[in-house]
């Protein structure tokens, strides 16, 4: 079990209610929310500014989508693990995320069950991806 009190998380989602729910779920699990972003570009900027322990990224966001934001973060801050949290359920999307170097993928519909486990995994330098039956 890692010490959650030191894990600072950046959460990026354009849907405020959902972002707040994710933040609340993470806080409840003793993570610290070091920043929130409403689009991909803001996520890239805040990642560089706040140097979080992990970034949780939505995919479909204005200005810059989550996949492109992940690419940019991986390019400049490769040590920061990235977890994709998306409403999409697509094998292609997961494969694309893996190619970029994203460490984990959680479908929003399964977030109640998987989000904390996935975040724990990526912070332990492990991968977390849904099973093949997606």
């Amino acid at each position: 079990m890692i010490s959650r009190s030191v894990n600072r998380i950046l959460v990026a989602d354009d849907q405020e209610a959902l972002r707040k729910r994710v933040c609340a779920t993470l806080i409840r699990a003793s993570f610290e929310i070091c920043g929130e972003a409403q689009n991909g570009r803001e996520a890239v900027e805040k990642a560089a500014e706040l140097l979080p322990d992990a970034v949780v990224l939505d995919v479909t966001m204005p200005v810059l989508n989550g996949l492109d934001a992940a690419k940019m973060i991986r390019l400049t801050l490769p040590q920061i693990p990235i977890l994709i949290l998306s409403v999409h359920k697509s094998r292609q999307l997961i494969e694309e995320a893996k190619k970029i170097g994203v460490r984990g993928y959680v479908n929003k519909a399964d977030a109640g069950r998987d989000l904390i486990r996935a975040l724990d995994a990526v912070l332990e330098n492990s991968a977390f991806f849904p099973a093949e039956d997606i």
Binding site: D14, Q15, E16, A17, L18, R21, V22, A24, T25, R28, N39, V59, T60, M61, P62, V63, N65, L67, D68, V87, H88, K89, S90, R91, Q92, L93, E96, K108, A109, D110, A111, G112, R113, L115
Partner: protein, 486 residues
Amino acid sequence: MTTIPSPVSEALAAAGSRRPGLQPGHVVQFYLKDEFLLDQVRDFLGRALSAGSAAIVIATLEHRRKLEDRLLADGLDLPRLSSQGRYVSLDAAETLAEILVNGVADSGRFSHLVGGVIARAATACADSGSTVAAFGEMVALLGEQGDISGAIVLERLWNQLGGIHSFSLLCAYSMKDFSRTEHTEPFQTICGEHSHVIPSESYSSLGTEQDRSRAISRLQQKAQALEHETAAHKRAQESLQLLESANRSLQGLSARLLRLQEDERRRFAYELHERTGQDLALLGMNLSALELDASRLSPELAKELSETRVIAGRVAKDLREISYLMYPPLLEEMGLESALRWYIGEFSERTNIKVKLEFLHDTARLRSEVEITLYRALQECLANVQQHSGIAMATVSLHADAKRVILEVRDDGKEIAADAVSSPESAAVLDAGFRCMKERLEDLGGELIILPRREGGHVKIVLPCERGGSAPRRPQLWSDAAERVG
């Protein structure tokens, strides 16, 4: 020598005149066949020469030879007449070349050259007191070359020369040089430049006045019928133009409707997936959060909470599938390849038809409109495979170069008729979706090709494309959404 005078000779006969032979005049003979013309000229010149006059021929080499054969056969001593200056034969093309300046007959050159020939011939036959007879084909050469206005200029020069010298001139035009509607006016002008007009052999060779009257009546009826048909043809052409214009408008409208439909599908899919779907995801997350405190609830309530979360998850899944079918998921973010792979996977699972996908192009993005059109085309092609081919295997390939992108779908089922999309009748057998696809492709400058195959179907879709960069484009939709979401 013919004994019955030809219409030409009759026209120029010295009726009521004390002078023998021909009278000055300018006759035009229209004709259908060379042989008829040559017989007319033979009679015209033969009578003049027999009467002691002089004859000038300015004609094509072929006509001059055939005419001389005829005159010799009539017993005329052409070598002697020629040496006396009473028979002059000139080549029409060579003479015309000498009088043309920049393609137009020059008055000075014409007067000098042709006027000189006439003056000398007139001197040679001065003792006979008869008029020089001339047959000219220079105007006919111009007419044959399509230069009717040049021919009219030359006719006028002949008329001017008639004011200086006394001669009877016979011109001739083949009726084939006036076979079009636009020839009507120049034809009338040419007739107006002559003192006598002789119709072609179909009329002028008729023996009696009664026959000619019948011929005129027949021609008048034909003219009336032709006029009526021309008017009907013109109306039909106008209707056809209107129809074509309406058809173009309809095609444009159809393409616009398809674009609007696509925009609407995209909007609905977005609303379902990105708004309602996100709300359902939030609902699921909230229910999950509540479940963490389920120990504080009664067992019944905890069970209902758990069931509610499962139902929310199921609704979210159904909603996602509906939105994916309405508009390809992640097309904007991940591009065509990902969208096609997703659709093919979903199609194979749904239909049990195995689809092999071959991508033969790089990952550069295509225009948004091109990508969605190719995606829709694939949907239609695979739907066609499912409905008509009755097979379990299909191959899809996508390749692109700098100017075009080509999508091909092959299967081993029933063959699609090659003309199925080209003829309206056979197009009727195709699904409406397939025909819409054709219109949609054509709207983007592309085409749908049904390739002949011994076994199975082969559809090829070609679209012109400008290659974009690898960076995904930002659809207008997201900007709208950003404003809504705030």
